[in-house]
């Protein structure tokens, strides 16, 4: 099967407008006869559900949490990008497009990224109209901050809770439609299979997580908005329940899975504290606006700090190595995430780590506090040479900007980050790979769409900060509502899809068999036991730096672990009741397959790009070395019964508007 990305013809800046002018539309009376299923209620799923319901479609939305408001988009902290150029600092649609393609290390599809940049400004307008309280300046206008990989301030924010505010905006839009009866909301439900009838996605099998009952739901189209698969690493910044099951089930039913090895390891997370650790906590990238990253310049100082004999605040300026500012003078602390993470790993591997495990660097706000404090003192007419006063005023500014993040840090680490530098280390955060989609966001199964983090499309091999919120809302509010209409226009005479078709019967039986298998297995180890072991293999061999030998080992180890899991996992309780262990078992079963494909993809990609770093392919300075001649393509994998037998399909990436160069942030 040849991959057709269905990119419209014409100049890049006209493609989306032309496309919208020529697609098929569904008249309002007919929309009432069409059902759409949306799995997941984060920024992408929530905004899509609300918009499609506003348009008149009958929407059925599913989330495994107890309310759509709990989807993990809620935890996004720093901000959302939009090419508004409110700061007049030279931003434009093209620049946002260019930064995103470059930031993605030239492994994203130009047409999709340009469309994303085009609709970005609409997102801010829409959210403000919904009453989302984005940060404002004293003049009453919206404020911006900077994020990594850009030279302009285009990030809109709401303190360190931007994701929460945007998600609650989408949730409020959903609520309006739930109240009108246009969205039927299924909380505490998990999609466990896709139903395909005559080659088209026509429904899902979902499990009611309270009663355990299996339910059949039919629709004219199915939208997967279930987020990313970072939890394949066990420890990540994802929520405990974040999982790949919906995406993996559509993959097994025929949707290709693209670039699984593109994973974002976020540079600023709170370091691991012990074996009991269940998840990792992010400290927003926005902190790099004001925080300076450093390690001791001398090995003996690093050792003294690790042993508790020296405090970071005692170390003189000249004994500190601000390694990002040293290596990348033009972007400094605001280099993209992949670059910052590798640089932290490099210093820690060289022995300069600053916590007990040797895996932490400092993020220091002392100089920002003094800088802001002096500015405030001058504005208020106080003496700016009074150090104590300046520190107090500066601390207030920092608290105002990042207060909730500092509080989170203090609660977890039990240290006051206003007084001593934060300790941070990279952690798995986001997955750029995902279900392959064409320009319409349709997967290789007709009528099955994937949006938001669940698809692969816009971020290439590395996502820039504040771009995930932008993509989720762009897909849901402004892209899918057009593209899905073009498809559904052919379905106006189909009528309701019956759920007693043999395809529903078969899918339901398969799900029941899997559930029974776990309940009856009576093994000796818990689901978490296997999940932790999978996570360790992934982190050690498929993590921040990868090589062929490690990847080959990982592939074998994961396959063996999967066998052991099926033989020896122990799931208590019953199928027909509230059973959290059973939920986890179903999710980990899918991670155990995905992890292997992930490693296989990483092994086949003989280059380094963005979040995929192969030790064999690096420049003399240790930067990622791409191979554009052989690898400027999307790797889309077709399921053939086992991850080891997955078949590779290539979508060649064409760059007409951006010149491919070695990415430099020096």
């Amino acid at each position: 099967m040849a991959l057709d990305s269905k990119i419209p013809n014409g100049p890049i800046s006209d493609k989306w407008t032309d496309y919208k002018d020529h697609i098929n539309l569904v008249n309002p009376a007919n929309k009432r006869n069409i059902d759409v299923i949306i799995v997941g209620t984060g920024l992408a799923g929530g905004s899509a559900a609300a918009t499609l319901a506003e348009l008149g479609y009958n929407v059925k939305a599913f989330c495994f949490q107890d309310s759509p408001r709990r989807a993990h988009s809620i935890a996004a902290q720093g901000g959302i990008n939009a090419a508004k150029n409110y700061q007049g600092d030279g931003d434009s649609t093209f620049r946002l497009f260019y930064d995103t393609v470059k930031g993605g290390d030239y492994r994203a599809r130009e047409a999709n990224v340009h469309r994303l940049a085009e609709v970005s400004a609409n997102i801010i307008d829409q959210c403000v109209a919904q009453g989302v309280p984005l940060a404002r300046e004293y003049g009453g206008l919206l404020d911006n901050r900077s994020f990594g990989g850009t030279l302009v301030s285009r990030t809109f924010y709401a303190k360190g809770q931007t994701g929460q505010q945007l998600l609650l905006g989408a949730y409020s839009a959903m609520n309006r439609q739930i109240g009108r009866g246009k969205i039927q909301m299924y909380n505490r439900h998990e999609m466990l299979d896709l139903v395909v009838v005559n080659g088209k996605a026509r429904g899902i099998i979902a499990r009611n997580l309270v009663t355990g009952e299996l339910e059949r739901h039919s629709a004219h189209a199915v939208v997967i908005a279930s987020g990313g698969y970072g939890n394949v690493f066990f420890l990540s910044t994802n929520a405990m329940g974040s999982n790949a099951t919906a995406a993996w089930k559509v993959h097994k039913k025929g949707a290709f899975f693209a670039n699984p090895c593109y994973t974002q390891i976020h540079p600023t997370c709170i370091p691991v504290s012990g074996d009991h650790q269940s998840k990792l906590t992010l400290m927003s990238e926005s902190l790099r606006n004001d925080g300076r990253i450093w390690v001791p310049a001398k090995l003996e100082d690093a050792q003294a700090i690790r042993e508790g004999r020296l405090k970071p605040t005692q170390l003189a300026e000249e004994d500190r190595d601000y390694y990002l500012e040293r290596r990348y003078p033009s972007f400094g602390n605001l280099v993209p995430r992949d670059v910052a993470s590798r640089a932290a790993k490099e210093r820690c591997d060289a022995g300069y780590g600053v916590n007990k495990t040797g895996e932490a660097v400092y993020l220091d706000f002392a100089s920002a506090i003094m800088r802001y404090g002096k500015e405030q003192a001058r504005i208020k007419g106080f003496d700016d040479s009074d150090a104590a006063l300046v520190k107090k005023l500066g601390t207030e500014v920092i608290e105002n900007k990042y207060g909730n993040l500092f509080q989170m840090y203090e609660k977890i680490v039990d240290e006051n980050p206003y007084q001593t530098p934060m300790m941070i280390y990279p952690a798995v955060h986001y997955t750029m790979g995902g279900v392959w989609v064409d320009y319409n966001l349709m997967t290789t199964i007709e009528g099955c769409y994937a949006i938001g983090e669940a698809n692969f499309s816009d971020h290439g091999a590395n996502r820039l900060g504040a771009s995930a919120l932008m993509q989720g809302l762009a897909d849901g509010y402004f892209v899918l509502p057009y593209t899905i209409g073009d498809y559904l226009a052919k379905d106006i005479r189909t009528g309701k899809i019956p759920t007693d078709l043999p395809e529903f019967e078969e899918a339901e039986n398969n799900v029941r068999t899997q559930l029974e298998r776990f309940i009856n297995n009576k093994g000796t180890h818990t689901v978490d036991h296997f999940h932790r072991r999978l996570g360790k293999i992934m982190w050690d061999k498929v993590g921040m730096a990868r090589n062929a030998q490690g990847l080959n080992e990982a592939i074998n180890e994961i396959a063996a672990l999967r066998e052991e899991f099926y033989r020896d996992v122990k799931v208590p309780g019953t199928m027909d009741s509230f059973n959290q262990e059973l939920e986890k078992a179903m999710r980990v079963a899918d991670f155990l397959e995905l992890g292997e494909l992930f490693a296989k993809d990483a092994l086949h990609r003989n280059e380094s790009c963005g979040g995929h770093f192969r030790e064999e392919y690096q420049t003399e300075e240790g930067e990622a070395q791409r191979d554009d001649e052989n690898f400027a393509y999307v790797a889309a994998w077709e399921y053939k019964g086992k991850p080891s037998e997955a078949v590779l399909h290539k979508e060649q990436l064409v760059f007409d508007n951006v010149k491919l160069v070695q990415r430099s942030y020096k």
């Binding site: 905004s47 309310s67 935890a75 307008d125 300046e137 977890i412 039990d414 122990k570 208590p572 262990e581």
Partner: protein, 247 residues
């Protein structure tokens, strides 16, 4: 640390439920409270006993999924946090810890420590929104300047995570803090004024129908709220409600 746990166990919504004693040893002070429960569950699971069901998801204090009444307080003894952000360093060796679900008529127990909070969703569905369709044609976001002070107050109200601690802490199981946070957010913004009258009337009506009690100004909700939502929001909602009723 070694601890004694007394945990509410209830098979399902119909079961009467009871407190059950557990001992747990080698608890690290760096563990979060939920990680401590993970260890207990791993242990119960290995012994062939049914693990304790509890709600949780983001484990960073923002999704609002975790709950728990710990030693008589929603989200436990620390302030300004959710249960997932509570760390075991707040307890000491030998302590006995009582762990119960959030208790309110409007929050029926599903299993053990898991309760059904969908009444909150239904209140939001009654009016917790601004009726603006997605079109791409709304006016420019900077067309209406908003005083920073009001924008900040609206933001503070909007940080509510819908966890239900306010209800669980209230002797009347009142949801006034929760409802007033949403009413306030929109009442403080020009975009929200258009529908202010219907919003406050509809949301309060729904709140009463769902079986939440009334507010008697004891202020426990504000103390226990993990996001520090202020009682001023309740005053603002009362004002909004009074004006709306007189229209």
């Amino acid at each position: 640390m070694n601890l004694k746990l007394k945990i509410w166990r209830q098979k399902d919504a119909k079961d009467a439920g009871r407190m059950v004693d557990y001992n747990i040893s080698d608890v690290s002070p760096d563990m979060s409270f939920l990680e401590m429960l993970d260890v207990l569950n791993e242990d119960l699971n290995n012994k062939g006993e049914d693990p304790v069901a509890f709600d949780h998801d983001c484990r960073e204090g923002i999704c609002g999924m975790c709950s728990l009444h710990i030693n008589g307080e929603p989200h436990g003894p620390d302030r300004g946090i959710t249960t997932c952000q509570l760390h075991m360093r707040k307890f000491k060796d030998g302590d006995t810890i009582y762990i119960e679900p959030f208790r309110a008529k409007a929050f029926p127990v599903i299993k053990d420590l898991v309760v059904n909070r969908s009444a909150f969703d239904r209140i939001q569905q009654a009016g917790g929104f601004i009726s603006v369709n997605t079109s791409g044609n709304t006016q420019d976001a900077n067309a209406i300047p908003i005083q920073k002070h009001n924008a900040d107050l609206a933001f503070d109200a909007a940080t509510c995570i819908g966890c239900g601690a306010c209800v669980a802490s209230c002797k009347n199981a009142s949801a006034m803090l929760f409802v007033s946070a949403k009413v306030s957010q929109f009442a403080l913004l020009p975009q929200g004024r258009i529908e202010a009258t219907e919003r406050v009337l509809n949301m309060v009506k729904k709140m009463d129908e769902e079986g939440f009690g009334n507010c008697t100004n004891t202020g426990a909700c504000e103390v226990e709220c993990p996001k520090g939502i202020s009682l001023e929001n309740i005053a603002r909602m009362n004002r909004e409600y009074l004006f709306a009723s007189l229209k």
